[in-house]
Symmetry: C2
Subunit: 496 residues, 2 copies
């Protein structure tokens, strides 16, 4: 089905002045301007379809990634799309193992972000040519073909291609039902839009109240800069969203339990349809001894964005434990596998899990986090890992280790992209919503041609062909840095 | 003593066409053009001194690092050098934790290589202003001042500032004698110049023979692309350099042993002065039970440059064990701490150690390699870690864990730079040459104003002020990419 030779690769430095209002601010990134290196691939095919891809950045440094995209461009230009996707593993390795370019990585930093951007464009183009949204392309793909997109180098000690094949084969069972379930109910999400570090208490309270009314039940709050601030903010949020509720005290819960129609996620307090769950996911499980049903209707997650050293993370979180966080995200350096393992072990008795991934730079880091039992929630990122190819390998490893994937999203475009991956994960790999939810942030969707659709705090599966990566031409033009209108005005104002 | 405000930062993309002759070729980097992002700092001080710094690259991608240097430049311009080195920890963190720029790292990839280049220039300038070679600046520096250059973030779980202070205080004992020892004998080196993967068997044999005559006794060979080739090449080298000799079979060894004047390094077969060692380093130690004296006069090290998966590394090395390698270097992905630990454990019974570091991107990776007992030889790199600042933290952690540091060098400029660090390490930190040696590669020194001096296979301490980073103006001019003469000619020839 695929056709055409790549005749043009263009890349744009797009920046959105989000720092002006404190959107996206956290303990380590105090003034992010959400940005992207945005790639457009054109072919000589007559269909006129373009492949659009991006990687997310925070403003400064986007030009470095743009430069890295240009360094990768010769690997794509004049290649047949059929040759690329026909040996996608080989092509992936060609990009990541270029004998000269790999020195400035390998498979990390600017050059790996650039790899993500160009391969995201390839996947978008492939899906558009097939006339399917990316998640559906993946779901329908023959397992052997799917595996031929993955570079298993450096992960065969925990996942061989045969093991991966077995996982995908098992995932065939009930696939149709799960696809229907996604189409009707969507994939559960949580919100990070309410509690950026740069927001005032008033704004935070107001945003949480509004979100509750819109059906959100899981909220993430940024912590780590100042303990007293954190305590005050977490308390504010708990006051709005309600205390953690132990489910067995709920009359509804007892009723549903006795009627035998509770879904597994209700049991763990993670079902977004509670207390009106139709219980159609699976027969109600009995509570497992030793595994407390600790989460109530409203969950609070905390995110330190790498602010702490290992001992500090443990001490700090002990002081925030009273607010019953489901997880602490990025407690320390994203490279510190053994550090995350130590924190996980120390916080387990407090009922707090560890989540990380948005800055884990490749599959080898995720492999080790899983080996070391260093995380309880795995957060893939559609733009830091090497596109769909590398994300597939991480989804499969997570399945093998039984660790739930709760993707990182937000920024610009991350929600648009990662929804495809997590919907595929549910339908074809994990086959479960237990302990799972996808981040959602309500910024900048208006710049995309096919923006995410959220219904009752769930991602609804995209219907348009492609990877939802394509931006509106007007948005691209206006946000080019530094020559787009938006920046010309801002920079002129700053100059005055 | 320091003076001046940084008034100009210029950065050059310099490339040397080493791929034309196969220099530097290995299993993953088949055609490297040794290159550098070369930074020059100028101040408004009247001394006219310039700070020169670089980071090493392999050709393509240098332009990406140059772009990253320019992104960092605003942090340096118009800063007083005194303010920078007066709070060097703060300045280091300012560079590595820029709220926007850190997203494309953090502390890894192109932006961290750029950090190394600019900070190497700052250290060069500082040392020049003090009128001392960098190693001497470090050796003479007050321990508290030295520690104020280190960012301990993310490593306090294994090394606190107080522990580091104690290490430096202990290092004061015998410092003067060790400095004299360096001045007279130099720091032991090994050579990688003889056995690049792209060299023919004839060339390899000839180069090894010549090196032996020049006093070299430790040779590194590139392996990992093809097992039969590896076996043939390792055998060739062993044939030239002689078999591994177990020391107690040597009449000389017994004689020296009985006379009680063997140095500790002779006992381990690592003394470059054997069999004429004056035994002046320390009283002869008795062989330690359970620790075989397994190395003879000539050592062979092997380097796979990340070619293998974990199980493959173990299998492959089992087949090369007959050639008695001292270590296998970079057996797998540099990010794979747990993988290196597994390989270390598997190869220990074969008497083969694991070495890694040249692509370990920051102190957090080294911290974990040490925690996990994943290496027996730690290879710092002067241009991948964040300059002297981050290297200091790694030297101190290695000392705490008792793991010998054997720096990575070669490329362009790496020998010039890292000799300062390892000489400082011996004088002020490790106080030992046991199991220690520094890589040496005989390429491109002619482009430096103060090139390394090698005597009897030892690095002789630099005497000129600075970090030996300054390149000849003519070399800079000619090797600019793509506009220098060398490249204009080459590219024109390739165009024909």
């Amino acid at each position: 089905m695929v056709r055409g030779r790549i005749s043009r690769l263009s890349v744009h430095d797009l920046r959105f002045p989000t720092s002006l209002e404190g959107h996206g601010s956290d303990a380590m990134h105090t003034d992010p301007d959400y940005s992207a290196a945005y790639v457009v691939l054109e072919t000589d095919a007559e269909d006129g379809l373009k492949g659009c891809g991006l990687t997310f950045t925070l403003g400064k440094g986007t030009e470095v990634v743009v430069c890295a995209v240009n360094a990768l461009a010769p690997h794509l230009l004049n290649k047949d799309l059929g040759d690329i996707v026909g040996d996608f593993r080989g092509f992936y390795r060609q990009l990541t193992s270029d004998g000269q370019l790999r020195w400035i990585g390998p498979e990390k930093g600017a050059v790996h972000l650039a790899t993500a951007a160009v391969l995201n464009a390839v996947w978008d183009l492939w899906a558009k040519q097939e006339g399917k949204p990316l998640w559906k392309l993946l779901v329908d793909m023959d397992p052997r073909m799917l595996l031929s997109c993955i570079d298993f180098r450096y992960i065969t000690d925990v996942l061989t291609e045969e093991e991966a094949y077995e996982i995908l084969q098992k995932g065939q069972v009930g696939k149709k039902e799960r696809e229907e379930q996604m189409q009707t109910q969507g994939y559960p999400a949580y919100t990070t839009s309410c509690a950026w570090l740069g927001y005032t208490d008033t704004r935070l309270t107001q945003l949480c109240s509004e979100a509750l009314k819109d059906g959100w039940t899981r909220f993430k709050v940024k912590v780590g800069a100042d303990l007293q601030d954190d305590i005050r903010r977490c308390r504010l949020i708990r006051n709005v969203i309600g205390p953690e509720k132990t489910l067995w005290l709920e009359p509804e819960f007892l009723w549903w339990l006795l009627s035998g129609s509770l879904c597994h996620d209700c049991m763990l307090g993670l079902c977004s349809r509670w207390p009106l769950c139709p219980g159609d996911l699976r027969p109600a499980a009995r509570p497992v001894l030793g595994r407390p049903l600790r989460k109530g209707l409203s969950s609070q997650m905390m995110d330190a964005n790498q602010r702490w050293d290992v001992p500090e993370a443990v001490e700090w979180m002990a002081k925030l434990a009273e607010f019953k966080p489901l997880w602490i995200e990025e407690p320390t350096c994203p490279d510190d596998i053994l550090g995350h393992a130590a924190i996980s072990k120390a916080l387990a008795p407090l009922g707090i899990g560890v989540a990380t991934g948005e800055q884990c730079h490749n599959r080898v880091i995720f492999k080790q986090l899983l080996q070391a039992k260093a995380l309880q929630f795995l957060q893939i990122d559609s733009c830091r890992l090497g596109s769909v190819n590398e994300n597939l390998s991480v989804l499969l490893m997570a399945k093998k280790f039984g660790v739930p994937v709760c993707p990182h999203a937000g920024g610009v475009g991350l929600c648009e992209l990662v929804q495809h991956l997590i919907i595929f994960d549910f339908i074809s790999v994990s086959a479960s919503l237990k302990d799972r939810m996808c981040e959602y942030v309500d910024h900048l969707h208006e710049h995309f041609k096919y923006p995410v659709v959220i219904r009752k705090a769930c991602y609804m599966p995209p219907k348009d062909a492609g990877y939802s990566t394509e931006m509106k031409e007007e948005s691209v033009r206006q946000h080019q840095y530094p020559d787009g209108e938006v920046w010309k005005e801002l920079l002129a104002a700053q100059g005055n």
